[in-house]
């Protein structure tokens, strides 16, 4: 039996092509059946994300299967074959196994080490399994891939730290307050990065969101989108007493918050810690505010500096991660070889699945 892979990703193909080949979840059972009946795969799984579309197949004899997979994809996406084939990569084992393990671990992702792909691989496997498209080999193959990804994440720094300004801001806030579900967040101004940061905070469980903007209409529309409370601009001082995290992204020319204002607020807050995230350029918050006790001030450069630092750490962890992947690939291949020797040929197809 062979394990093969045909696919394209963010490096090999532009988004116009990737979106044409993207598979919707509802279509999967039908398409997986087609892959087995028309293309002749014994086992199959489809991994479709916004950055990649990959078909994994287990087949007894290669015998033109890759060619049939190209045709299958070109028909599915209604793309001319000549146009498509140059964008597709095709691997057989051991590269196909290596590729799957690396993909699951986030080593092939646009943002190195991102964790979303782990869930996507897991779903791809579960959906294929539910459609009866996987057999003994693919069950083990995908479980080992997920297992590898977890080992890589646990043993290396590949997934550590935020990879965007908003992500890092959230991470820092969590380092100060712990769980964010009981934190109150105040967004001042309605800039794009500020909005992204608020979205991330709300993903992390923040419930009490307040939005303050010079134009009340914008504040109201944003507030609706995030189930937040719109606040009038002249209430900033009172809000400063209640908020735990303040994110500012206004284009004002003068300080929104200066040392005296924050110092007074800290007194009123009885020194409860305050996290200030200044996303404005020019800056909205006097940098001197950062030297006040229990005030943690981060500006755009601080956050970007940390993002760069994390990207660098992830790149440094790449080699170590690849070593883990290689080890796991070898272990899988040796399992597979003994399996091929001990049971012929009945357990290579899906029919052998319990």
């Amino acid at each position: 039996m062979h394990i093969l892979l045909v696919g394209l990703n963010h490096r090999s193909a532009p988004v116009e092509l990737r979106e044409r080949l993207a598979f919707a979840r509802e279509q999967l059972p039908q398409l997986l059946a087609k892959l087995r009946e028309e293309v002749g795969l014994d086992e199959a799984a489809i991994l479709s994300t916004c950055n990649r579309v990959e078909i994994y197949g287990g087949v007894r004899e290669l015998d033109g299967t890759i060619d049939r997979l190209h045709r299958f994809l070109s028909e599915y996406g209604r793309v001319e074959r000549e146009h498509l084939s140059s964008r597709l990569y095709s691997y057989t084992e051991p590269q196909s196994v290596q590729h799957l393990f690396a993909v699951a671990s986030g080593l092939d992702s646009m943002v190195l080490g991102e964790s979303e792909i782990l869930h996507q691989v897991k779903h791809a496997y579960e959906w294929a399994k539910d459609s009866g498209a996987t057999g003994k080999v693919f069950n083990v193959l995908f479980q080992r891939a997920l297992n590898t990804a977890k080992a890589v994440r646990a043993q290396t720094a590949i997934g550590l730290g935020g990879t965007s300004v908003g992500g890092v801001a959230v991470e820092l806030a969590e380092k100060i307050f712990g769980q964010l579900s009981s934190a109150t967040v105040l967004l001042v101004g309605a800039g794009k990065v500020g909005e992204q940061t608020v979205r991330r905070l709300s993903d992390r469980g923040v419930k009490a969101l307040r939005i303050l903007n010079r134009s009340p209409e914008r504040a109201v529309s944003l507030a609706e989108a995030y189930h937040a409370l719109p606040i009038l601009f002249d209430q900033l001082d009172e809000q400063l007493l209640e908020a735990d995290i303040v994110i500012s992204s206004t284009s004002a020319a003068s300080w929104l918050l200066d040392r005296a204002a924050v110092s007074m607020a800290m007194h009123g807050r009885r020194q409860r810690p305050l996290c200030l995230v200044d996303l404005g350029v020019p800056r909205n918050i006097d940098p001197d505010v950062g030297s006040l006790e229990n005030v943690y001030l981060f500006n755009v450069d601080d956050l970007q500096g940390l993002v760069d630092h994390y990207h660098q750490e992830r790149r440094q962890a790449l080699q170590q991660s690849q070593a883990i992947v290689n080890r796991k690939v070898e272990r899988f291949l040796s399992w597979w070889q003994t399996e091929a020797v001990t049971c012929v040929p009945s357990c290579s197809g899906p029919a052998a699945a319990p």
Binding site: L172, K175, R272
Partner: protein
């Protein structure tokens, strides 16, 4: 009576040790956050909020245990010698320790001080614990039995 005195006192030292450790970790992490230089331990440390709560709880429990330990100590001395205060250096130090942690606990409770300063004081306070525990008999020639 002696056993209660010993156990409570030793347990209070353990609680103050917990406050000391959480205080040190708080100071390390606080410094990294203020300077925006995230060191090696950064991802492994609990949040400042959690360290602060642990510190506060440990000081409270330590203070309660120390109060019991000191009280039982005085009762013990009183029944043995007929007077509860003998003027031993250990007695002065214990009262100083008791008073210091009471003040620290009250300051944190009333939020007069918070965060870094409380952490710093709980770290410094532990040196007084060590001195009361070991130093009294070695340096100040206390007649308190054992330590």
């Amino acid at each position: 009576m002696v056993i209660v005195h010993t156990v409570c006192s030793l347990l209070s030292y353990v609680a103050f040790l917990v406050a000391f450790v959480s205080g040190v970790l708080f100071l390390v992490q606080e410094r990294q956050l203020k300077r925006k230089t995230l060191g090696l331990l950064f991802h492994r440390l609990p949040s400042l909020g959690m360290l602060d709560r642990l510190n506060f709880t440990a000081i409270g429990i330590g203070f309660g245990l120390l109060s019991l330990g000191v009280a039982f100590g005085f009762i013990e001395v009183g029944t043995l010698l007929g007077r509860w205060w003998t003027g031993d250096p250990k007695e002065y130090l214990s009262m100083l320790l008791w008073g210091s942690y009471l003040v620290l606990w009250l300051m944190r409770l009333r939020s007069t001080l918070r965060g870094r300063r409380v952490a710093l004081l709980s770290v410094l306070g532990f040196s007084l614990v060590l001195f009361t525990f070991v130093g009294a008999s070695r340096i100040l020639l206390s007649t308190h039995p054992y330590f």
